[in-house]
Subunit: 265 residues, 2 copies
Amino acid sequence: MTYCLGIKVNDGLVLAGDRRTSASVDDVRTYNKLHSFEFPGNRVFILLASGNLATTQAVLTQIQDDLENPEAAENLLTVRHMFDAAEYIGRLGVEARENVPGKDKEGESLHLESTFILAGQIAGEEPTLYMIYPAGNCISPAPEMPFLQIGESKYGKPILDRIIRPHVSLGDATRCALVSLESTMRSNISVGPPLDVIVYRRDSLEIDHRMQFDYSDPFYNQLQAEWTRQLEMAFQALPRFYWEKEESREQQEEIMLPQQQVQQQ
Amino acid sequence: MTYCLGIKVNDGLVLAGDRRTSASVDDVRTYNKLHSFEFPGNRVFILLASGNLATTQAVLTQIQDDLENPEAAENLLTVRHMFDAAEYIGRLGVEARENVPGKDKEGESLHLESTFILAGQIAGEEPTLYMIYPAGNCISPAPEMPFLQIGESKYGKPILDRIIRPHVSLGDATRCALVSLESTMRSNISVGPPLDVIVYRRDSLEIDHRMQFDYSDPFYNQLQAEWTRQLEMAFQALPRFYWEKEESREQQEEIMLPQQQVQQQ
């Protein structure tokens, strides 16, 4: 499994994902799921992938081939809008599955689908985020809840639902992405470190920050420890039930009892 | 969909669930998913259900029939151990599905399975928690992570993973169950209020507290508001990235600039 997410805030884009990939429980590897195509000053694309790794790699290879082939009908440099780039990658995904020679011979156990998040900006346009489905069609997120997730997305969704809004800073969006990944990794072993993060500042037309975090990374350890400590404090601040007061009073009375007996003697 | 959970701590058991049930998006109803069978001083059972509502109701009806039938081979009063009760309910679930007249005629769209959590205590035994699968077999949770979830379980799992340990109080376990349900309801509309909660204190052999929370409940509102406030504070306490310092310095320099210009004039 995989967990990748993309966030679009007013200041730019944050993309993050884990590196765990598993063909089976005894075939676990690490693989980078964040792929970038940078043309500084002109356009920047970041592609996140979940699903079948062969399909993903076929798409990445074809993207590169098309960029190097002057006769290609379309490539990431010729597409006019981000939406065209998303449709182009959607088509590559469908073609990659069509091209698998034994696709009809393996039965229902063969899952060739890959789902992508495409993020980036083309000069003169807004930075954008698209989810590209295995069928080749795509959506962008609602402006009020500007994030997309692929793969094992449920564990890490509540914190995004609470924090991510268009006005949050790139720093807060990046921290939120890491907390979302951290919650997922704690609850599901199919998502695992290292984590990759790309931060793109609006209109910079080049990637601003690339970060990788392993469990041995001091910053990541500090974030983990602080989040754990803060969550416990948050939890302790919640209101008490009426029956807890009764019970603590009962307990207090029980504790008082020996002393009262002493006084009565 | 449904989300129900059971927690077993040293002090007793906490059971909680939502009441939303939907046959389709235009057929949404509320239905209590926490069912209790109390024999004070002797034994207490709480049964939580997710899945096919007809199967669940058939099982509940059969449990009641068997209790009222002196010739029943087995019922909740004759089972010796909690494990026997779990196996008994597992068998009822399998039988309920077998008894559906048109079960083979509806094709793959017919999902008759129900999954249960059985919680309770029989005098002389430990309080226990079982997950009963549609196949009729069952498991109890690991002592170190003493909780079970059925239905839409992923959104609310991270907070349980962090907080629930055997030593936590019944109050903390109940608050954690509510936070877990609240996170799920925020992220998934198939889980919705009101929420039912049952608290069972170890060795009391009767249910100690039954609570129901709607969005209009003042205590629930206080818990919601406080958790939102605390989570935001927790989030703000996380460490900053190196590039945030640089950028805030840059921003500061930009702000300084006009003043410096004034001084130079």
